[in-house]
Amino acid sequence: MDLVVVGASLAGLRAVESARRAGHTGPITLIGAEPHLPYDRPPLSKAFLCAGGPAQVRPFRGEAELRDELGVRLLLGTPAQTLDTVACEVSVGDQAVPYDALIIATGASPRPFPGTSGIAGVHQLRTSDDAVAIRSALDGGARTVVVGAGFIGSEVASAARARGHEVTVVEAASLPLSRSIGVDAGTVCADLHRANGTDLRLGVGVAAIESSDGRVTGVRLDDGTVLAADLVVVGTGVAPATGWLRGSGVPLHERDGGVLCDETLWTGVPGVYAAGDVAHVPNPLFDGDLMRLEHWTSAAEQGAAAARHALDPASARGLAPVPYFWSDWYGHRIQFVGTPDCDEVQVVDTDTFTALYRRGDRIVGALTVDRPREVMKFRKRIAERGDWSEALAFAGVSAREGAA
């Protein structure tokens, strides 16, 4: 049985590893658009951007290990161009790669800011090449403007401030991240920026990125203000990388083009499974909500499960994970478990900050700042469909007070 994995990053690598662990002895081909061996992304916006951070982005595993120990045929630096689900072939350059089982793990790509391609000093942050370019601009003392107050952009702002650079974050919404974590937690995030000397501009859009002789000079806002900049990092979100699947018969989400799967990660097309940032998966733990997560933990878990299921569909079991992500800002650790999609958010600790999210009479989410010991105890309650008042009691708030 030929296993083909498209996308050579976290989800793709975990698919390969789990296939071998499950006893698959047939051929495995790993196809990746980047020329690099699979590497880890979270450090790219954290340790790697700090002064004195690691000199290079190291791959998870060396080439010899992948080739010889895991027996993987690597096709790197060449994107898959099309998928033919009738002939069961992926086209890569001028070759057709046949599969019996296929894992789609092509992740997501940042949305570019229109009209900025080729302007030096304007970057997004997704790949190691992006991180190298941003780090060298920061090494040069760049005045930094971040467009979009999302997690990755905020981590870049934090790294630039740690070096003492002037940093402005521009966000079109009236609060950072309020759609993904709610208003109270969004306010805490805004405060973190301001307390650390980042100039946070809320409720204003970017009209244009200005340049001279092919190099960025500044960012012009909707209100006419021009912010001088040597480095502009655009962090306005990503879109699933599924252009190569158009017309293949693999079902895509009408809004963002992500791959639609069932809870076993099956796309409904024989032999074809998806995992990681590219995949929309219903989650039975949260009333079957369709979730496309951009989290390390789900990419790792789904990658491993997708390969097991693709190789032995009869053994496939639906996943019901508690989503989890973390982000590091100005020396503070933000952690979120569960879903922010809820009926009520209650702030239970304003000291470091903890907020709990309720749906019906259950706890469905928790956000903590600098509470590493507690967050997984909330996660356990969420996984067990734990009772809201018990979660409040655990957090030290009486249920009566909670209900009031």
């Binding site: 878990e301 590493p372 010991r373 967050v375």
Partner: protein, 63 residues
């Protein structure tokens, strides 16, 4: 089977605790404590899940 934790690498992300709370716990200092370093063979699946879940690859199994 012995659990080996590289405490210098651990960032206190807590996934090990999520997967196998009987064996791992994150403390207030944000690093992991191994509650039982030599789990019985019957716990291999849970402990292996914890090792795999660590985002900074700070955990390994000896044996």
């Amino acid at each position: 089977m012995r659990i080996v934790a590289d405490r210098a690498r651990c960032e206190g992300l807590g996934m090990c605790e999520a997967m196998a709370p009987d064996f791992f716990e994150v403390g207030d200092d944000g690093t992991v404590t191994i509650l039982d370093e030599t789990p019985g063979e019957e716990h291999r699946a849970a402990v292996l899940a914890a090792v795999d879940a660590c985002p900074v690859l700070a955990l390994s199994l000896d044996g």
